[in-house]
Symmetry: D2
Subunit: 337 residues, 4 copies
């Protein structure tokens, strides 16, 4: 890290900075120029803990030279990573399609959705067993029974199963029944959960927090990877802004930014970004054109009676029709489906 001091900073202020560095076991390399004084920090910045030098007296700005994430960085793995989930490779030339209902409601509902999306080329079945809901009075999911339904239907149809885990208490059950664990937007900074899924070794689909920066998201991935689990796939699902025409604002530029900074594959979730079925298609195509490694899309046999997110789930015929367009766009950008 480099610390740029303010024009006209005092010697006392400089000495204070050096004192803070030394008290954390770091060295300081002073360079007093004509325009400004610059202090180079020698040693491992992580020793600083949360000390925010930037806001100390006399400091103009601190300039980190390295990101705080290492394992998740592109620098460490310039060739990029792929994640293999039981033979389905995420991050390769072939797009990975995950689809299924928002919430697991019944075995019949899941089976109907699974058969439909399988026929349209999906490799993964998605479905919420544990549902994090804003209100305590809303439907909270079938819990473990939901995981079991997904597993049975996944086995029947040959689809891999991905489902959200909302607490580390369900890790054993989730690992038993799912092929991939999803960390939802609300838990992106539930660091305990991140560590535990890291220890589980299971592939993880890490959604971006609703108001997280890309840097914080990669730091969250680092939590999982720092426990030895490198099977992390990122998923952009829209961020919170002032615009209300859509449920969230899909940050499609996250795809090239992540590609540049990180070695991890990235999917797009157009359903939660859109909040409305009519917008899902264009946003899915945009994600693929921007270079995403796949899509996760909500599909329900009968969205009108869905127990959650009715408005944003596609019907099976709508999903089938969309996959044809996705295949065309994928081919146009050198991918396949």
């Amino acid at each position: 890290m480099i610390i740029l001091m303010k024009k006209g900073c005092t010697q006392k202020e400089i000495a204070s900075i050096v004192e803070v560095l030394k008290s954390h076991g770091l060295g300081a390399n002073l360079s007093e120029g004509q325009q400004a004084t610059v202090i180079g920090v020698l040693g491992d910045k992580s020793k600083l803990g949360g000390v925010n030098l930037e806001l100390m007296d006399g400091v103009e700005k601190c300039v980190p030279i390295m990101h705080s994430y290492k394992l998740a960085s592109r620098e460490m793995t310039p060739e990029g990573r792929t994640v293999d989930v039981g033979g389905v490779v995420i991050g390769g030339k072939r797009l990975v399609m995950m689809a299924g209902p928002c919430a697991v409601e019944s075995e019949e509902q899941v089976r109907e959705a699974a058969l439909g999306v399988k026929a349209a080329g999906a490799q993964f079945l998605r479905g919420g067993a544990y549902k994090p809901r804003t209100s305590p009075y809303a439907f909270q999911g079938l819990e473990d029974e939901g995981y079991r339904i997904l597993r049975r239907v996944g086995d029947e149809t040959g689809l891999k199963v991905v489902s959200e885990i909302v607490s580390h208490d369900e890790i054993d059950a989730a690992c038993k029944y799912c092929d991939m664990l999803q960390i939802g937007a609300r838990n992106m900074q539930n660091f305990r959960l991140l560590r535990e899924v890291g220890r589980s070794g299971k592939p993880v689909l890490l959604k971006r927090g609703i108001a997280s920066t890309i840097e914080e998201w990669l730091d969250a991935a680092e939590y999982i990877m720092s426990e030895g689990n490198y099977n992390v796939v990122l998923c952009e699902r829209g961020i919170r802004t002032y615009e209300t025409a859509t449920r969230n604002t899909l940050d499609v530029a996250a795809v090239p930014v992540v590609r540049e900074r990180s070695c991890l594959p990235i999917l797009i979730d157009p359903s939660h970004a859109a909040g409305k079925a009519a917008y899902v298609g264009p946003m899915a195509l945009a994600g693929v054109a921007a270079g995403a490694d796949g899509l996760i899309i909500e599909v329900h046999p009968n969205p009108k009676v869905a127990m959650s997110d009715a408005a944003q789930q596609l019907t099976i015929p709508a999903y089938e029709s969309l996959t044809k367009q996705i295949a065309a766009v994928a081919a146009a950008v050198g991918r396949e489906m």
Copy 2:
């Protein structure tokens, strides 16, 4: 408009609402239900001026039944509009490509850019003559001389000219030298300027304000159209959010939302959203895949010496290469280039 009263609102509160409506020449249709009292507003809501009934005592919510824009709405023109700029049609099957330098710096620079983008298939030459700059000490553009350079080069190369207008004082000059007037993000709610470009009759490229909702943007288009000028093309260029990895956050969902609510064509400006050349390509392709009617991209013969926005301008070879990918994605979504 429908006014939903709060549960337990008083008769006095209801009477106050009715009084406000009457004082503005509107009728009220009272319906007192078991759950809530609802007041239907009879007559033209615009008579209300800025009265915000929603925040009066006893009011739970006001629900507009009609958008405040009419001419810009999809309802009024379900088949959609195209805008013809000297024979180049915006909003048809063929994508419209606008390209050129951020700022007009010299005739040589503009000519070199124009020849490059023309060869790569662009139909419009863009370039800033009047530059709105955050700091008064930054380069403010060549002003009218910039317009003249664009015109000369446009005529030489057969490219249409689009350039920004920052004040109604330049309308005569801008109309003389340009084929299309651009209203920049900072002026999207400069209502005087909107009215004047409306009166000019010239085709207008209306950029979205940096923190404007889609509804406010369509209201801004309505200002132009209400003066009789229906030749309005919208341009999404990214909105301001907390994310700093890109200059702005491209709201690619604006394409399907605008398509649903408005009859106007919409372009994508990936350059200002990205702020970095490396991200322009993926964002441009995302825009086309989402259904945009064209792109406006900053291209400079030598970005390193550009007088503004150096980092986000493409070189001519980079632009040429990108147009091939754009053509492929366009074909994949049923458009052509």
Copy 3:
């Protein structure tokens, strides 16, 4: 809830809505007016689960008549609630002052801070034992040993102890050593944790999520209260916006909004909002003037060597000096300290 249909909606669209309502055990009261068709929903809306009717075909808008939270609402408890923490009442005429270091670093550090803030009139000692940190490589706190230090120092000084809990696994330890449990911004929608602290019966300080609406925050309080624990105190600590001059943007208007909608007391945390010691004072005074029931402020005996958030922690003399100003403003708005 009232559903307003779009002008020109079809009978089929209306029938679809009614079908969805019936499939969830709800009735529909149809009213077809001249301007629009309105459907009144009969029955408990929570049966709808996550069904988002607003985005179904033909629907213009859904207007909730009741908030989703009930126990946390002002309607249910018009006189407001106070929370008694071992004899210290939060929400009464007297402001409650919580102060102490960001992180527990050592018993000496905590004792020095505690003696200082106690002398300046604080009733609560704060300090982080478990620290949720963006990077896995940053200092994560002394964990249970931190709780024990706080308890010992709290007992010595007669200060109540409030400390953050980041996972339900630590509830037993936290309940044993702390007088009040803090739910941090990142965990505001960790619903499992909310339920568990609800079951614990301990007083809870619930910080607002970094990008949460006030409605979502009250829904989070409802999670705790729905388990029978009504001892919830809200804490506004700044929200994420595009502005970078401060760490977060303090939403001081949350105080009157919460006062109007909820029965719960509300504190202000100026330290996390400011991110810089120099701004903490004015923001603390603003909070008190707006009507907050107290403040939680970071105070460190020697901020320069603090292991986290160095820049935003006040020194003990600065805190002492600030409390005098706070007392003056409190008196001006009819409170006391």
Copy 4:
């Protein structure tokens, strides 16, 4: 400015940066350290125009040493500035109170409001003659007749007149009838208008743009000051965020931030931030407690029949009552009313 190069940047990348600097008449001071290469920029950075070096290949970050504003900075005028409007000093110990209706509707309405707010101690009469409205069909104000009404009533009551100007065409009229010109949020970056009010020499009340950073706001002030008009007063009126409980989010921390970075006085407009009369009082008090130099508040003799912003305007008795509380808080922070 200091340019920090990426770890492992190439000599070619460094040479490119130096080339860009030279092409703009600037020198480069290369310092290749162990951790990173740093380039010091020699000369006046404004020569760079809009070149964004930060995004060029090999660049990690650019660190500005000086703000782009100079005249508006605190450094240039450490003692701060006051603005004298016909004998009323803004920025001194005494708070300045501006009040009056959102829009000028009639001479009677303005007179009634003026007499009321004058009796309650206001020094300025506010009122909108030209109203920038989102929709072209909304009431746009009485225009010049509005200015004349304000002048007549101001003269009668001994109140100074402040009113918004939306286009430089009205500068002569506005200067003739008003004592202070207001630049509204939508025009904060209407640079032509800023320059013209700068040239007029009239005191200016510069509202913060709805999504402007504090730095951009001070750059806007610099536009006015760079024309020789130093009589600029800033006004915080809330920024756009995702929260919808209030019309805008009042950034009360702007007061200490502006105080630190700028020499200009700052007022708070609680009315536009609140959007609802019930919240105006607490937000006004918060602004004063944070150190604002005054308030601008919307007051209407009969808000229910107001032609704009009905919900956020105070009645005269409510304003009178509020001023008593303001006086108490002002005294508590060492100011007077």
